[in-house]
Structure formats: structure tokens, C-alpha cells
Subunit: 330 residues, 2 copies
DNA sequence: TGTTTGTATGAAATCGTTTACATGATGTTC
DNA sequence: GAACATCATGTAAACGATTTCATACAAACA
């Protein structure tokens, strides 16, 4: 691949002149400029970003590290981050950790070594030490969806409040025996569970049953099937995440239960299928786009002004009432 | 950030020794090794990948450029590529172009400047010139899902054959007035449309109606609504992609049509919702994981052996019969 | 004419690595 | 004890860019 040296040689100038002409800043005679341009075209020259980055460490590249790119929340997030970053002249590398802490750490390490300008991450429980290490190296970091520590800029929804609101809504529909299906090992599920229980307590109810399991579809299916086919089944089910809800919904179908008469159904996140099924499913929709944009903005601000103090931004989840919960009794 | 020089100084050795000790290849006295390790720990030293990459241009980084990371096909693809690459010691940068040819070109350019080891891309129609340019620069490229030219390794499913098979299946169910909803400006939709029409022709039928529109949910909704609410509606609808199908399905619901009695429904791709709705939707499932792995394998092969001739790999789509098409009349 | 100013260019240092080559020390072999 | 491996380390060049500093020439000014 042609380098600046080749271009310089071909155009009969020094590499300094070529460099100047490329960044078209300072004085380069029009005639020289043209001559260099010809050489560039002939050689198909492209400046080597790696060398540029080594020289003056400003990469204009952001990293987005997500646990599961297949999760619509994260893919939408990725898109939002990408879009906003682009308007500011930044590109985004997306890294998928597949929920694997080892991989997460590896990507974090890789990104710091790659000298990216900053990192947006939805950290796993185990990420904290590594994040703190990067923080010490003054690598700007924004945490989304989950908290990693006070020292990091963070953007997430008020999970507890949202869960309260959703639970209230189910209670208002007259459901009494409300069960919850929550992810385990998840900060987010934790917060949602709190809101769930607070709302019940406020109505002198308690959870009919709470199950926690790994946040995957099959696990959700199994857990929901067990709950719903017990001798004393719940009359409503709330799920803490899309994948869990997908599995749970399939369990409901499997048992041929009528929604919402036999069992109410509601969940967090707003996967496509909740609008395709009949009756459509009531959900808490995360303002994903907004989260992504906010995170990107925050990161760029920190890049510009590394010493600003960390902010924690909580956005509101949106309750989208559809038909999977009974109508409130007037 | 501490550099190798700092470590060398602190440990009282030359940078060469530090470098050797890090790559732990050649002779370094145990005692020296330990001394250096101490310095590394104290300084929190991490080798600078950018410098490494500049020195010996082997990045062990792959780029995956997709048009829509929100599309489950691509997110699953990303995961498959990521996973396979990892087993071979490669990391993957995922880039999202949002179906924008300008962005696509920019990422392609960026990746070549970043000296990635190779690129996997699902190219837009307009990508060809840029791809050829990169090809001239000897950057290994694998095209997935769509074709870009003979000179590129390519992995895709046999769309025409799969569409034939799907259409046959619908015909076998006794549907007669079969309409098609196909994406426009898409190589893939093109191929599928051919298979659709060939299958019909083979049964002396012709398409009841074919609409082509941008492959988004809302466009699918509008187009399907128009077709289904006409005075002479189809008795089955085949959609060429997940997004289109999502919109179309919502249109079916909106009109309260019974599936499969009033209208049969089938589509390409296997989004989650097709298994959640009742009756579940018959689909052609792409062997997405397999596609991703094959593409990654192919790319790595080409990286190792740049001169091998390009191969075109066609995988089979899998027909998944569910209940949205009438039972074959025996 | 001599000094100043503005424009156009080149030489060389620098970023953080790896590595070919050189050198020094130690031990082995005849 | 001379010759020779073997091991351990250092020196310096290279990768491809940017940028500071120096230089050269012209035009402008006194």
C-alpha cells in the first residue's frame, strides 16, 4: 500500500509538503498541490490511520460494548449511538461480548490499547474492576442501562419507578395473584424487582410468586410453565426483560391460557412481537434512542472536558398500555 | 499512559528487553523478567496496539459492515462471526451503515485505513466501486447475503430455490390467489421474486399481485393493507423479508383476517414473533449462524492465502412449516 | 541597499513498538 | 588456554504519519 513517502517521491516534493497539502491547512502552491494530487490518484494513496493515531493520539473513534447485540434494546442503542456520533465526526466500533465477562474484559482492554477516544458500555456485574482500571488511565467511559460506580457517567431508566408504574397498572386491572419473573445476576432486574414489590406492598398485596432465572428465552419458558401450571397459578405475570417474556409468552400459549382473562401479561422492553400478537402486550418501553443519544453526548462532553464531574442521568420508562392486562374496573 | 520506555527505565533495562520479555519468546533471565514485571505492574503498563500495528501490520482485527444492526438476521450474523473469529484469535469491529451508501463507503474507507485484516460486508447496490477499489489494495473481503462481483468470496443462501420451495408449499396448501410483497433495490429480494414466479409458473399460475416497496415495517404495512383490502384480495401473502412481514402481519391483524383460512401467510427470515403469534407463521429460516461462520472462515482463509481464487458458497434455506398456511389437501 | 514580511518548502524529531545486528558474559570442549 | 557455543542484553533502524524549526526566495518597505 502506497505511503506518503511514495507520493512525495513521485511528486518530487518532501513528505512534509504532502502532509500539508492533505490537511490543506498551510501554504502550498497551487501548482504543487496539483502535482501531488496527480501522484495521489496514480498511487491510490490513502493516509494510514494507524500512523496518524500513533502520532497525535486523537482517534475520533468511539467504542460501544454491549452484552448481546441480538437483543433489540442493544441494537437500537447501537444505532442511536452511531447516528449521534456521526453528526459529530466520530465513528463507532461495536463490540459484542455475548454476556461473557472474559470477553468483556478483553474488549475493554483492546479498546484501551486501540486508543479509542471513549467507551460506552453496559457493564456486567464483573466489569467493575476493569472499568476502574481504565478510568485510572483516563479513558472516558459512559455506562448505560446498568450502574458501574459513582465515578462513571451513567444513563439509564428509573427501573424501580417504572416497575412500580407497571405493577400499579396490573393491580388496577383487578389482578390479585401477581407473579414476577426476573433475571438473576442483573442489576437492572434487581431494581425492577424492588419497584414490583413496593407497588404490591403499597396495596397491601404481596407477590404471588417470584422466580429468578438466567435471562434467556428457554429459561423463561421453563420458569413460566412451572408457575402457570401449578395447582395455584397466578392470575397475572410480569417479566423483567424481553427474552424472559418471549419464553414466558410461549408458555402461556402452550397452556392455551386466555390473556388477559385467565392470566394478565406484561413486561419490560418492547420487542416487535408484543405488537403482533393478539391481544397485544402491555409493556414498559425504554426510550432507547434517547438513552443512546444521551450516552453519546455525555461521552463526547467528557472527551472534551475530562475533568467534569460524573453525572447520573435517569430517564423515564414509558408505560404502553395494550390489551394483555384487564381493563381497570371503574 | 506509560510506554515501554517508562517500563525499561524503571526496570533499568533497554526497551528491547522489555519487548522480548512481553512476547516471552527469547532469552530473558528470570531475575530480569521479574524486575520488569514489577515495573509493568507499578506503571500499569499496556502495550500500545496502535504502535504494534504500525510496526508489523498484522492487526488481528476483522470488520463486519452491516446495513442494519437492528435486523435480527444481521445481529445474529454478527454474533456468529464474532464467535468464530474469537476462536482464531481475532476480534471484530461491527459497523452499522443504516442502509446509507455514503456511510457504507465511509466505513469501508475507514476500515482500510485502520489496517484491519479483512472485511465482511453485506454490500448495498452502490458499494461495488468502493469494494473493487479496496480489492485492488489487496484488502481481503467477503460478501454475505448479497453478491458484489465475481472477484469476491461470497456466502449467501440460494434465494431463488428457497423462494420456490416456499411458494410450492403455499400452493400445496391450496392457495390460488397468491400475492407477493418484495423489497425494492435489493439483490436478495430480486432473487426471491424470481423463485416465487418460477414456482407459480410451474403450476400454471401467475402472481395474483406483486408489490415492491422499501423494506421497512411501515411500508410493508401500507402495501399489505392496500392489497388485502382491495375488492379482489389475495388468499395468501408471501413477504420477502422480516421487516416487511412484520408490517404486513399487522395489516392482516388490523383487518381481522383469519389465518390461514382467509389468507395464508408466509415469509423469509424467522423473527421471534413468528413463533409467538397464533397460528405461528411458516417461514424460510436462513442458516444465519452457518452463514456467519462460513464467511468468517472464508475470510481467514483468504487472509492466510491471499491469492486463492474467490469462491461462491450457497447455503440452503430451511423451510419451517407452521400453521399460517393451509394444510396440503391430501 | 538593507531590512522586513509573507509564502513555499525541506530536514528532522516524534509517537510506541519490534527486530536485525552487535556485543558481552559465561561455560564447554579439545 | 584458545576457540566456540549459548545466553542475555543493548543499539539503532523501521513502520507512516504530523509538526517544529530552519531556510530560501520573492516582494515590500525604508
Amino acid at each position: 500500500m502506497a505511503s506518503i513517502k511514495d507520493v512525495a517521491q513521485r511528486a518530487g516534493v518532501s513528505i512534509a509538503t504532502v502532509s500539508r497539502m492533505m490537511s490543506n491547512k498551510t501554504f502550498v502552491k497551487e501548482e504543487t498541490r496539483e502535482r501531488i494530487q496527480v501522484a495521489i490518484d496514480e498511487l491510490n494513496y490513502r493516509p494510514n490511520r494507524v500512523a496518524q493515531r500513533l502520532r497525535d493520539s486523537q482517534s475520533h473513534i468511539l467504542a460501544l460494548i454491549v452484552s448481546d447485540i441480538q437483543n433489540p434494546f442493544f441494537s437500537e442503542l447501537a444505532r442511536a449511538v452511531e447516528t449521534l456520533a456521526r453528526t459529530r465526526g466520530y465513528s463507532v466500533f461495536i463490540c459484542n461480548t455475548d454476556e461473557d465477562p472474559v470477553l468483556e474484559e478483553r474488549y475493554l482492554e483492546l479498546m484501551s490499547q486501540e486508543q479509542v477516544a471513549g467507551v460506552i458500555i453496559s457493564p456486567s456485574r464483573k466489569a467493575a474492576p476493569k472499568l476502574k482500571a481504565l478510568h485510572k488511565l483516563n479513558i472516558p467511559i459512559v455506562s448505560v442501562d446498568r450502574r458501574a460506580g459513582d465515578e462513571f457517567d451513567t444513563v439509564l431508566i428509573d427501573n424501580t419507578e417504572a416497575a412500580q408504574r407497571l405493577t400499579e397498572h396490573v393491580i388496577a386491572g383487578g389482578h390479585q395473584k401477581i407473579a414476577g419473573l426476573y433475571g438473576e445476576n442483573s442489576f437492572t432486574a434487581e431494581e425492577r424487582l424492588v419497584g414490583f414489590q413496593e407497588a404490591l406492598a403499597a396495596h397491601n398485596l404481596s407477590a404471588h410468586e417470584v422466580r429468578r432465572c438466567p435471562a434467556f428465552e428457554n429459561e423463561g419458558y421453563d420458569a413460566a410453565l412451572a408457575m402457570l401450571s401449578s395447582s395455584n397459578p397466578p392470575d397475572a405475570l410480569i417479566c423483567s426483560s424481553a427474552l424472559l417474556a418471549t419464553g414466558a409468552y410461549r408458555a402461556v400459549q402452550k397452556l392455551g391460557l386466555n390473556i388477559p382473562d385467565e392470566v394478565g401479561f406484561a413486561c419490560f422492553d418492547d420487542p416487535v412481537w408484543t405488537r403482533c400478537v393478539n391481544p397485544a402486550v402491555t409493556v414498559i418501553r425504554q426510550p432507547t434512542r434517547h438513552i443512546g443519544e444521551t450516552a453519546a453526548e455525555l461521552l463526547l462532553k467528557r472527551i472534551e472536558e475530562p475533568s467534569r464531574s460524573a453525572s447520573l442521568i435517569r430517564l423515564q420508562g414509558e408505560l404502553v398500555p395494550r390489551e394483555s392486562v384487564r381493563e381497570p374496573v371503574a
